[in-house]
């Protein structure tokens, strides 16, 4: 190694180190970027509220508008949804006796909410699902046997169901893979 290379090495080291120091020094006057989840957010802000509409959080089912078509159960690649529904003449349609989702198994892929015709099964922006046992992560939506929803011609009129359905359809529109999207065979 000649003297030139020797001195150049020293110069390079000094200059590049000073350059790095200048970059870090410039960060000393930049504000931190940390979001102090969960307890030091600006007033009135929950992280859940800042999440986009498409966020795939914990699954939720609106039983009022569930048609018990079982499309979600079939679409789930890991079989974490189980629905029991049977025809009941007396009640006048399908009666669901069970709608369980194993959130411990769910991988939040969204394949179940895509085929849902009414947006009954949907992802919420909720993500804080920690619990003390695996069993408690199974979400059971049917408390008592419930009649499946039947779409009415000319739109929904029941004031209790209409807003839920409206939300559901908005969800369907957003999540519908496409206007002419995948269809049944």
């Amino acid at each position: 190694m000649g003297l030139g290379a020797y001195l150049r090495n020293i110069k390079d080291a000094a200059v590049t180190i000073a350059e790095g120091l200048a970059v870090t020094a410039s960060h000393l006057v930049r504000k931190p970027y940390t979001v102090q989840y969960p307890d030091r957010l600006p007033d009135g802000v929950r992280v859940q509220d800042t999440l986009p509409f498409r966020y795939r959080g914990i699954l939720e089912v609106d039983l009022e508008i569930c048609t018990a078509c079982l499309a979600c159960e079939r679409a789930c690649p890991i079989d974490c949804i189980v629905i029991d529904a049977e025809k009941d003449k007396a009640a006048g349609g399908l009666v669901m006796t069970r709608f369980d989702i194993d959130m411990a198994k769910c991988m939040y892929c969204g394949l179940c909410s895509e085929p849902c015709p009414t947006g009954a099964i949907h992802h919420t922006p909720e993500f804080e699902g920690a619990d003390y046992s695996l069993e408690s992560l199974v979400r059971k939506f049917v408390k008592a046997p419930v009649l499946a929803y039947k779409p009415k011609k000319g739109g929904e009129t029941d004031p209790e169901i209409a807003p839920v359905l409206e939300r559901g359809m908005r969800y369907v529109e957003e999540f519908a893979v496409n206007a002419e999207g995948p269809s049944e065979e």
Binding site: I17, A22, V23, L28, R30, K31, P32, Q36
Partner: protein, 406 residues
Amino acid sequence: MQQLVDSLLGPQASVPVWVAYFGAMLAFGGLVVFGFVLPIAGITTWVERRVMGRIQSRIGPNRVGPAGFLQWLADGIKNMLKEDIVPIAADAPLFKLAPYVVMTGFIAAFVAIPFGGPLIIADLNVGILYVTAVTSLVVVGILMAGWSSNNKWSLLGGIRSAAQIVSYEIPAGLSIFPIVMLAGALSMQQIIKAQGAAPWHWFVFENPFTFLAFFIFFVAALAEGNRTPFDLPEAESELVMGFATEYSGMRNLLFFMAEWGNLYVIGAIVTTLFLGGGRLPGGLENAPAIVSIPLQFAVFFLKSYFWVLVAIWLRWTLPRIRVDQMMIMCWKYLVPLAFVNLLGTAAWMVVFPSGLEAMRIALFALAVVLGIAFLIRVRYHLRRAGLRRDELSFNPLAGARVPGLG
């Protein structure tokens, strides 16, 4: 110390003078260790984490106490309560002893380190020699820790540390010599007295060789303190945690206390040797002790702590060098240059027996120019990043921006 005791006792003392000296030393020693060294090591951890957080666009500890200031106490308490695990295959006596040896090496240095003005535990006439000697004790402790852990990663860390500290003693020592020659003394207080209060009367600007010696000494001191870019003995990404891999709880903490405490030692030595210690301008030094001593302490402390901050800043900027490059850097770069400095200073002293005032001022001006050039570069980086006004803050404790994109 003796001066201080003398001035307090006055001429007619009722107790034998050595008893007074001894008592004062013990009291001052205890005060220094428990009132200064341990808190400074702890607070430095907080400072380091805040500075590093800011450099990394994070906040750093901000939960315990105001702005997280008491984090170091919380960490200390946590570590004391943690289980002290000794691996079954470890050499238990050595394993347990090692952190104390490291701690001893670092605390003993404070005996001869001045705190500004007459404040010093013992103004040994071999002061600087004593400091370099006792700080080498650290390597024994680290080697003990590395060997006794019975873990190959620890052993590699210990061996690296031994090679590193022993090698870097040489450029560090050689860079101290020019100062000793200029001051004509080894005593810390005498070295400070040989310098003036004005920056261009500090030894760092005495001549071009001491200017260079200052950088060599600082680099070598960082290496001896196992700081990045020389943190090879711990080298987290390579050796897991090096010599401290198997340690837990308080023993682990002692190693780190020594590391952070050592930072202050480095700063204090640099200040003493090169930066005029706690010298005050004009008549302030002859002011009453109640005024001058706190002032001198403050000046000395600020100067020292500035270098602690620089070491922290360097650590969070630079990557780590490899073990063979560390040796190359020491033996091929620092040692020859340190020899050049030694001879150059000697020659300078022969040619200009009382120094060259023009050169002092020129070197000081050079340092100022370099500093300004650096600040311009910082501004360039800020501009290029295209930040908005609300993304900048000069408040060192600034909180985070509002979450969300944009």
